[in-house]
């Protein structure tokens, strides 16, 4: 089954219609703006056949989807403190200044939605913000239905060249409870029957959306699944240096030692079903989920599947002891997506959207140097960006 992704110019973006309880602003490339309390980032998409762009039923990655190029929809929401079941962490996007180097979004047109707390608790608020953001992203792409695409890409899986190594992607999705889970077809990752094999085109086509608001830098917002660099690189290398064997989605934050071990072995079994010689294992969020990744790495290696793991580091920049949160000796091939503890040079934005005060009470416009940890997706562990850490 092939899936087509048609790309349309950002020039088709129209002024969004007002939404009750939401401030909407459009920020153009290069404006000195800081976004705070950012939950998610989404690329505008729509399907000409009328099916949902972010489906909760049926299957993504089939037929055709239109995308608006160079446009990002952000949802910002400062949760009610007294109702916070888990403490979500600060999440910032700088659209100019030194922080802009840590985000791919500064070069795009940003549609920023700031949700105002209304009736209901945090879980209701979150669900509403998530649904309305995805819905708006879909509406913003509607003008593409009457336009000519700039280009059309086709994604299809075939058996490939048998002489090339078969490589699969294993993408971890967090589920640590409300405010801390990713969604697969609208279902929290922990209830989505993971680990499971999906068509890689499903991932690129809105099957996975973000609801995980833990560490900003280690977060994988929806747009990183839609534009997934790992899956796209695997498609691009298919038939050249490797055969793309497929994609396994697996859960992070299994809650007991036994569950962690079982899930790791089940994920390795899925990779075996794909006939993978090697897998790239990605990580979602941090701490506990790093243990899931390490156990999965070990289970794959024991099943004869070679692994490379992608993860971020949390090392005191003044220390010479780079110790990972967890590690197994089988993890002998690791890509580092950066050190979260390093500070990004101070910058004073002219405007702040999303909320003027950060979670720690400081004024967002005058916050001083901010750790990489607080920049949305900056050290994401799917390898979406170029940030890395090296020994100096």
């Amino acid at each position: 089954m092939a899936w087509q992704l048609a790309t349309f110019s950002a020039g088709l973006l129209r002024e969004p219609e007002p939404l009750q309880g939401v401030n909407i602003e459009i920020v153009r490339h290069g404006e000195p703006v800081r976004l705070t309390h950012v939950l998610d980032a989404v690329e505008p998409r729509v399907r000409p056949d009328g099916r949902a762009a972010f489906p909760t039923e049926g299957k993504a990655g089939e037929g055709r989807t239109n995308r608006l190029d160079g446009v990002v929809v952000f949802s910002c929401l400062d949760f009610l403190e007294e109702e916070r079941p888990l403490h979500e962490q600060e999440s910032i996007v700088d659209l100019a200044g030194p922080g802009a180097e840590f985000t791919p979004f500064a070069r795009e047109t940003c549609v920023v939605l700031t949700f105002r707390p209304g009736e209901g608790g945090n879980q209701d608020l979150e669900a509403r913000a998530r649904r309305e953001t995805l819905a708006l992203a879909e509406r913003l792409a509607e003008p593409t239905l009457e336009a000519e695409p700039a280009r059309v890409e086709t994604f299809a899986m075939d058996a490939g060249d048998r002489s090339l190594p078969r490589v699969a992607a294993m993408i971890q999705l967090s589920d640590l409870g409300p405010l801390y889970y990713q969604f697969v077809y609208g279902t929290p990752a922990g209830q989505a029957g993971l680990p499971r094999i999906v068509d890689p085109a499903e991932l690129l086509d809105g099957a996975v959306t973000c609801g995980e608001y833990h560490w900003a830098a280690m977060r994988n917002p929806t747009i990183f699944f839609q534009r997934n660099a790992l899956v796209r690189s695997l498609y691009a290398e298919h038939g050249k240096r490797l055969s793309f064997a497929g994609l396994v989605l697996m859960r992070g934050y299994e809650q007991s030692a036994d569950d962690k071990q079982r899930a790791a072995e089940a994920a390795a079994a899925r990779a075996q079903e794909l006939g993978a010689d090697g897998v790239v294992i990605t990580t979602d969020a941090g701490g506990n989920s790093h243990t899931d990744v390490m156990l999965t790495c070990r289970a794959c290696e024991r099943a004869g599947i070679r692994t490379t793991v992608i993860l971020a580091e949390e090392t005191d920049p003044e220390s010479t002891r780079p110790i990972l949160t967890d590690w197994v000796p089988e993890a002998d091939s690791i890509v580092s997506t950066g050190n979260l503890e390093e500070l990004v040079e101070e910058w004073k934005p002219e405007r702040v959207l999303g909320g003027d005060t950060l979670l720690d009470g400081t004024v967002a416009a005058n916050a001083g140097p901010i750790p990489v940890r607080n920049y949305l997706g900056a050290a994401n562990q799917m390898g979406q960006l170029t940030l890395g850490a090296r020994t100096e």
């Binding site: 888990l86 190594p165 790239v280 990972l324 890509v335 580092s336």
Partner: protein, 341 residues
């Protein structure tokens, strides 16, 4: 700007192996290789050469270091330069040890020696410029040493080891690679499948050896320690929910239980709803008191220790552990119930 240059007895012209017992001395201006170095330094003057016999340093390290640091206190240089020590182990060790001690006193320091010289480890976070294994490498080493020394004296921030020609010191620093992490992962995986395993970050864990078991708890003072972010209601000392920079000690004041009215968890890494219904779930004071009454533990320590273990670099947690263990040991505590989350 001023530099002080460290040499051993041989390069300082005090004599060969027969003078290796020479105690520290301070000489005015550059001496021996210092003259060549002085010619390469930019806007930096070598005001003094300090020297010590290699054997004397090895056998009387504390005294030698104290005297040499005393010289630095007098001269107050902007930079300490040491060597080149080439492949000489004793000389390299002295250079590295002095440089590391100078860095502790906020004097930027740079040493030149062979990369396999044991002095490289001794140098800690001082800069080390690579040199050849023997003195034939002097001509190459001096300009490199001078370049780093001049930059340090001027307070200029140094670039990467590759750009500036010093050995990596072990700090993990961010950089922007040419390829995405995903592309780098595929390169690493394909290389590994081809038989060549590489990694961007090494592994290894700080395994803590379990101590010997406590044979008879009924004679032992037991303390409660947690990283669960458990604090008195209202969090009076503002323990952070994440990235804690310290820990707190709270007196139990003879309390029998951690009541929900008086205690809470501010930990930001797990759902605290159940923990806050009954804080004993985090710090089991109620059960510990029972064990104390039954005589199964000798006595409960009068305070509990708490921090938030969430996004904490290992170095920071190691410091917390050392500090808390130090206090507990002084208080005569023989066993700890450590509740983690």
């Amino acid at each position: 700007m001023k530099a002080v240059h460290y040499l051993n007895q041989f390069f300082a012209g005090l004599g060969g192996e027969d003078k290796a017992e020479t105690p520290p001395v301070r000489l005015d201006g550059p001496v021996g290789p210092g003259r060549g170095l002085a010619a390469e330094l930019e806007d930096v003057e070598i005001v003094a050469t300090i020297a010590c016999g290699d054997d004397y340093f090895a056998e009387h390290e504390d005294e030698a270091l104290a005297t040499l640091l005393g010289y630095l206190d007098e001269d107050r240089p902007e930079v300490l330069v040491a060597g080149p020590a080439f492949g000489s182990g004793r000389y390299g060790y002295a250079c590295g040890t002095l440089a590391a001690a100078a860095v502790e006193r906020d004097i930027p320091s740079v040493v030149a020696m062979h990369p396999e010289n044991p002095g490289v480890d001794a140098a800690g976070t001082a800069y080390v410029v690579p040199a050849a294994v023997n003195v034939a490498g002097m001509r190459d080493a001096l300009p490199r040493l001078a370049r780093v020394a001049s930059a340090l004296a001027a307070g200029r921030e140094l670039g990467t080891p590759d750009e500036e020609g010093y050995l990596a010191r072990g700090f993990r620093r961010n950089y922007f690679a040419e390829k995405t992490g995903a592309e780098r992962a595929l390169d690493l995986l394909l290389a590994k499948l081809g038989g060549e395993t590489r990694t961007e970050v090494g592994g290894g864990l700080d395994r803590v050896e379990p101590p010997a078991a406590v044979l008879d708890l009924s004679q032992v003072l037991v303390a409660l320690v947690t990283e669960a972010g458990c604090v008195p209601q209202g969090n009076p000392d503002r323990l952070p929910s994440v990235r804690a920079q310290g820990w707190f000690r709270y007196d139990l004041n003879g309390e029998e239980t951690l009541s929900a009215a008086r205690y809470e968890s501010v930990h930001g890494g797990f759902d605290v709803t159940l923990a806050n219904e009954d804080p004993n779930r985090l710090v089991p004071l109620d059960t510990a008191r029972e064990l104390e009454r039954e005589g199964r533990i000798g006595r409960l320590h009068e305070a509990f220790y708490t921090t938030t273990g969430n996004g904490t670099p290992v170095v920071t947690s190691t410091r917390f552990g050392r500090e808390i263990a130090g206090e507990l040991r002084e208080a005569g505590v023989g066993a700890v119930l450590l509740s983690g989350t």
